[in-house]
Every structure is written in structure tokens, then in C-alpha cells.
Amino acid sequence: MKQYLLTMYQPDGDPPPPEVLGKIMREVGVIREELQAAGAWVFAGGLHPPSSATVVRLRDGKLLTTDGPFAEGKEHVGGFNVILAPDLDAALEWARKLTRATTLPIEVRPFRGNGDH
């Protein structure tokens, strides 16, 4: 089995109204249960908006702490799932379920190390 990071990208700005968000969260909850039942769930999390982010970096040998986010854009990482899957097709199938539920694009990336040849 291999670990994949499923990153959810969402547009900047206000979240959907509560009735829409509530439905999405319920569906995501169901998928999480499915992941757990399949033994595919490792870890997941939703994040506060990018305005809550702080960035630490090294510049000229000095540590700087600044208001975030690291990269300004029209979209940001809204949440992620770390899952276990036998191959990319299986990982993509979970990503499709999440995309269907959230309508958000999801990037699927393999972790280094685990299960690599």
C-alpha cells in the first residue's frame, strides 16, 4: 500500500452558505467513514482561511516571521486527506468521490518512501 496526499483547493472568499456547507460536510463525513471501513484512512484535516496563516522564513541568516499566507492566489489549500491505496487508480477513485461531494478540485500526490521500489 502507498500513501497519497489528497489536497483540496478552494476559492478565496466566503465559504458557501450554511445549508450548502452542511450538506457537503455530511457527504464528506460519509466518505470518511467509507475510507475508515476500507482501511484506507490515515489522517485528514480542514484548515482555517489563509488569512489565519503565518509564515516563518530565513533571510540573510535571520529568522523572519510575517503575516501569511505564503503564496497569494485565487485559490488556497482548504483541507487535505492522507490515504492508503494500492495504486493511483484507487487513490483517484477516492479523489473523485471527494470532488463530487465538495465540487472542489483535488490534487493527488504520492508520498515519498512508503512502498517505493
Partner: protein, 409 residues
């Protein structure tokens, strides 16, 4: 039979490359290890075959030798690396008949996986299943060799790191996965029927490979109309393969071909499939192209070709796929229906200066309009872009014929 020269050994390896790599990928679970093993087998063959002659089954020899070399390699590296994977290799080393089963369809679906960009899919399939070199693939796509090499290395790394499986997709995944495979098979056929480089116009091995893959796909999913359309298209175009070159390997244009040389069995098979496609109310691009070629194959002489129908079909095809190659082909039909002047107008609307056929077709239209000086310049441009020796010779001849006419007038 005389013992093989190095270039003959190269040819055998090229021909059997896809089959060997596909089987070794299945055995060892990785493309790089499979390709390295086949390369090792090639080195061994170069040392051995010139004195021993070809083995009774070259492909069997290549696969067995490659498999043994890969296992030797794994044993050597096992002391410092991964004992576990070495043990797996040893276990899988003796698969017998099952291990020889054709794995090319699985591999083609890996190469054409949607997680890979289209250009990458085509390049990988040509490389792994067609056995083309990176140089040839780069030429086929008009990109620098370094770019193509990087593209292939990255794609293989992605297959390995993201673990893209070697698998024929399930029935419900098929519709979304098949388009890429069809495009790739057709490109392999085109590379065979109209070689992008080298001293041969036709590379029969690639035509046969594309035809084999086309048949395999059709066998697997006979209900998919575009699979049928592609097989019909390849069969019909390929039926003219023998007539397409003269005994010296020089190009013979469709209108000047000896139609008695056309392969009647292939035509009948292709026409049968094309007719089944015609029943579809909403034919896709391959089915339309098959219909166009069915018209050519149906005409007893070039003069009796139903060009208005061909033009209608190209117009329909262009509506589905508005790309300059189709526009160029449509212009050729337009020349037969409305004359060279109308066709030249259509050609000159296209911005396609890197492609030799653009210049060659434009040159021919200018020649027909007796605009010989411009035609000569267009032929020069075509000669400059043509990478295939036989095509270049053909164009040079045409240009010379023009100069003679020029002197007389």
C-alpha cells in the same frame, strides 16, 4: 540463413521490443528494470548472434535472456540494497507459459493513463510498445530531442512514484480511457505508413504493430464504434501499402498507384467494418476517416473517385476536429471538386510553415495553376522540412520537372 549483422540484430530487437518490455514489466513491476534488461539482452545478442546465428525464437531468447540478466543484476545489488525485491524477482523468474502471455494491452493503457499528458502518452507508447528511439519520437512531434528525452524520463518516474497500475481498465472506465489509446494507435500507424524520418517511406513493422493493436482493441471491445472505425481506417489505408512505393522504394501518389497491388482482403475487411460504422447516426472522427478511405478503395480508377462525397466527409470531420492537418486534407479534396484556385486559397489561410505537406500541397496547387516560380519556392520549403529521404527525393524530382517546364515556356 547467414548469421545476422549488427543492424539486423537491431532490427529484431526493435521489432520485438514492445512484446519483451511488456512481459518484463509484468514480471518485475517496473519499466526501467524491464528496459535495462532488454538492453542487456541486446548487448548479449550482439556478442553472440553474429557467430551462432539467430535463435529459433528471437523474442523468446530476448525475454529469457533479459529476465536472467535482470535477476543477476538484482542478486548483485541485493547485498547492499533490497533483499526483499530480489527475492520477489527470483520468485517471479519462472512463470513458464503464463509469463509469455502478451502484456502489451495492459502496458498501452498504462502509457495512455489520464494522469499523463496526451503528448506524453503518445511518446511513451511509441517508445515502450513501438520500440521507437527518443530521436524518432522527437522528430515525429517536431520537438527537440532533449525535450522529448526529459518528457519520457519524467513520465516513467511518475508511473513508478505515483504507482500508475499496469491494468486494462474495467468496463465502466473504458469509455473515458479508450480515446487516448485510439489516438496513440493511429499515430503509431501513421509513423509506420508515412515514416517521419529515415531512408524508408513505409515502416511495415509499425504498420503491422498498429494493425495488431487495432485488431486487439476491436477483439476486446467490438461494441465501441470508434474502435471499429479505427480498425477500418487502418485496414483501408494500409491496404495500399504495397502500391505506395515502387520497386526502388520511391513514393507513388494515390492517383498513380497500380490498384491491382492493393490488398483486396484488407479492403474487404475494412469496407465491412466501415459499413457497420455507417449505420451509426453520429459517427466519430475515425469512422468518418474510414468512410473517406472506403471511397478511395471502392473506386476502380483514380478518375472515378467520388470527390464531392470525400469533400463532404472532410467538412464534417473538420467540424468535429478543427485542426490544420484536416483542413489541409480537405483542401486536397476541394482541388478535385472546385479546382486548384479555390484549394490554394484554403491552404494559404493555414499557418503551418513547419510541416512539409503544407508546402508540398501548396507547391502542387501552384504548379497546377502554372505559377511555376512560386511552385519552385514552395517545393524548396517542402524539401527543407521533409525528414524522410524518399519524400525529399520525390519533392526534388517534382521540382526538377517544374524547371524543365519552366525552360520550355
Amino acid at each position: 540463413m547467414a548469421n545476422p549483422t549488427i543492424s539486423e540484430i537491431e532490427r529484431v530487437f526493435r521489432q520485438e521490443y514492445g512484446r519483451a518490455v511488456a512481459i518484463l514489466v509484468r514480471t518485475f513491476g517496473g519499466i526501467d528494470i524491464a528496459e535495462e534488461a532488454v538492453q542487456d539482452a541486446f548487448t548479449a545478442a550482439v556478442q553472440l548472434w553474429p557467430s551462432t546465428g539467430l535463435p529459433p525464437s528471437p523474442v523468446g531468447w530476448i525475454i529469457t535472456t533479459a529476465r536472467n540478466r535482470a535477476i543477476d543484476r538484482a542478486r548483485r545489488e541485493a547485498t547492499r540494497q533490497d533483499r526483499h525485491s530480489a527475492a520477489m524477482l527470483l520468485q517471479s523468474s519462472d512463470e513458464g507459459e503464463e509469463g509469455m502471455r502478451d502484456g502489451r494491452l495492459e502496458l498501452i493503457f498504462t502509457c495512455c493513463h489520464p494522469a499523463l499528458a496526451t503528448g506524453v502518452q503518445v511518446a511513451l507508447t511509441l517508445r515502450l510498445l513501438g520500440g521507437l528511439t527518443t530521436t524518432e519520437i522527437a522528430r515525429a512531434f517536431l520537438v527537440p530531442e532533449v525535450t522529448m528525452a526529459q518528457r519520457i524520463v519524467r513520465a516513467k518516474a511518475k508511473i513508478r512514484d505515483a504507482r500508475i497500475p499496469y491494468r486494462v481498465p474495467s468496463e465502466d472506465e473504458f469509455p473515458s480511457r479508450i480515446g487516448a489509446v485510439l489516438a496513440v494507435v493511429y499515430l503509431i500507424f501513421n509513423e509506420g505508413y508515412d515514416a517521419s524520418s529515415g531512408d524508408r517511406l513505409v515502416r511495415s513493422d509499425l504498420c503491422d504493430e498498429a494493425l495488431r493493436l487495432g485488431r486487439l482493441l476491436h477483439e476486446l471491445i467490438p461494441s465501441e464504434p470508434e474502435v471499429k472505425g479505427l480498425l477500418a481506417l487502418i485496414l483501408l489505408i494500409d491496404s495500399r501499402r504495397l502500391a505506395r512505393t515502387d520497386p526502388n522504394g520511391n513514393l507513388v501518389l494515390l492517383a498513380e498507384q497500380d490498384r491491382a497491388l492493393w490488398n483486396r482482403d484488407q479492403i474487404n475487411e475494412g469496407l465491412g467494418l466501415a459499413r457497420e460504422c455507417l449505420r451509426s447516426s453520429d459517427p466519430g472522427p475515425y469512422q468518418i476517416q474510414a468512410a473517406i478511405n472506403a471511397i478511395h478503395c471502392d473506386a476502380p480508377t483514380a478518375a472515378s473517385t467520388d470527390w464531392p462525397e470525400i469533400l463532404r466527409l472532410y467538412t464534417r470531420l473538420y467540424a468535429l476536429q478543427p485542426n490544420p492537418i484536416i483542413a489541409l486534407n480537405r483542401a486536397v479534396a476541394l482541388a478535385e471538386v472546385e479546382g486548384a484556385k479555390a484549394a490554394l486559397g484554403a491552404v494559404e489561410e493555414l499557418n503551418f510553415s513547419g510541416y512539409y505537406l503544407f508546402h508540398a500541397i501548396r507547391a502542387d496547387l501552384l504548379r497546377r495553376l502554372s505559377r511555376n516560380t512560386e511552385a519552385a519556392l514552395a517545393y524548396d520549403a517542402a524539401i527543407g522540412c521533409a525528414n524522410n529521404l524518399k519524400e525529399r527525393e520525390f519533392l526534388i524530382q517534382r521540382r526538377q520537372a517544374l524547371a524543365v517546364t519552366d525552360l520550355r515556356s
